[in-house]
């Protein structure tokens, strides 16, 4: 593995690698490393899984939060005090 980038080096550049913004030589080095190193391949899988997990975890709640209901009520109050068009 001495001619290949280290695990730390690979993990540090995985977002750039995934976006294809690294020079070809670096991309090839990381590509090979990922095929040889289970730990870094796992880090990449985790990075790819994260958006899906985060989207589900941070999806809108079934019940509208009280703060949102209050904000709408306040806006409706302001609107009702305005002259109608």
């Amino acid at each position: 593995m001495t001619l290949l980038p280290s695990c730390k080096d690979v993990q540090t550049h995985l977002t750039e690698y995934a976006e294809g913004s690294l020079p070809l030589g670096r991309r090839i080095g990381i590509w090979i490393h990922l095929r040889l190193c289970k730990a870094c391949a796992g880090f990449l899988r985790g990075m790819r899984a994260l958006p899906g997990l985060a989207k589900r975890a941070l999806a809108p709640p079934k019940e509208t939060p009280e703060a949102a209901v209050k904000a709408l009520a306040d806006v409706q109050g302001m609107l009702s005090r305005r002259p109608k068009v």
Binding site: K8, Q11, T15, P51, L58, P60, T64, L72, V75
Partner: protein, 214 residues
């Protein structure tokens, strides 16, 4: 018949929404409430993801709702009302974010990788590292309140400059170039902040999403 019923149901809903839009634009506050209420949780959530659970979120939601009302006459129905309103909410959140005085919000020196590594930068005992589970099983874990809370806490730990990049890229699916343009930073900076955020979040979620091999 089922398809026809569904079509007719959707047409009815859309016609009802169009009617509410007209009435709300004319100043009917009840119509505005009825129009917005079904999407209120979505709008609030979009803003909260950007600003965190702060008083700013409520202020931004109020601003967004006022903007939605003001711009209703310009809504042409090319997209769904919920998508159009959601974009207005995100813009309102981004405006509030810009106006915040950001202290301690500088580039961080946190690790961009998850170790431990040896002095040559390779993993120590990689055979004992746990495996990240990306199967359906891992997604089921999301249902656990504990994991949701952990993710929210981890997001709150991120400096504002990093949180916004993660939210826009990984939750809102913006292109890196668009984020860079919006934040007025280089694309490389966006990628670096995004990567740091992903590494931190991944480290925090290890307890939940990693299967034990060690």
């Amino acid at each position: 018949m089922v398809a026809a019923d569904t079509d007719s149901g959707m047409t009815e809903a859309s016609s009802n929404e169009s009617q509410l839009i007209k009435q709300a634009a004319a100043g009917d506050s009840d119509a505005f409430g009825a129009l917005v209420q079904p999407h209120l949780a979505l709008f609030h959530n979009g803003i909260q993801r950007i600003l965190g659970n702060t008083a700013d979120t409520q202020d931004a939601l109020q601003d967004a709702l006022m903007s939605i009302h003001r711009d209703l006459p310009r809504f042409e129905g090319r997209s769904r009302f919920s998508s159009w309103g959601y974009r207005i909410c995100l813009n309102a959140a981004l405006m509030v974010r810009r106006s915040r005085i950001r202290i301690h919000d500088m580039e961080r020196s946190d690790a961009l990788a998850i170790g431990p590594f040896n002095d040559r930068g390779h993993h120590l005992e990689p055979e004992h590292l746990p495996e990240w589970q990306v199967e359906a099983q891992a997604h089921d874990l999301v249902e656990r309140q504990e994991m949701r809370e952990c993710l929210v806490r981890a997001l709150d730990e991120l400096p504002d400059s990093h949180r916004i990049v993660f939210v826009l890229k990984d939750l809102e699916d913006w292109e890196t170039e668009d984020i860079a343009r919006h934040l007025q930073v280089a694309s490389g900076t966006v990628r670096q902040r995004l990567h740091r955020s992903r590494a931190l979040l991944q480290a925090r979620l290890r307890t939940f999403v990693l299967g034990g091999r060690s």
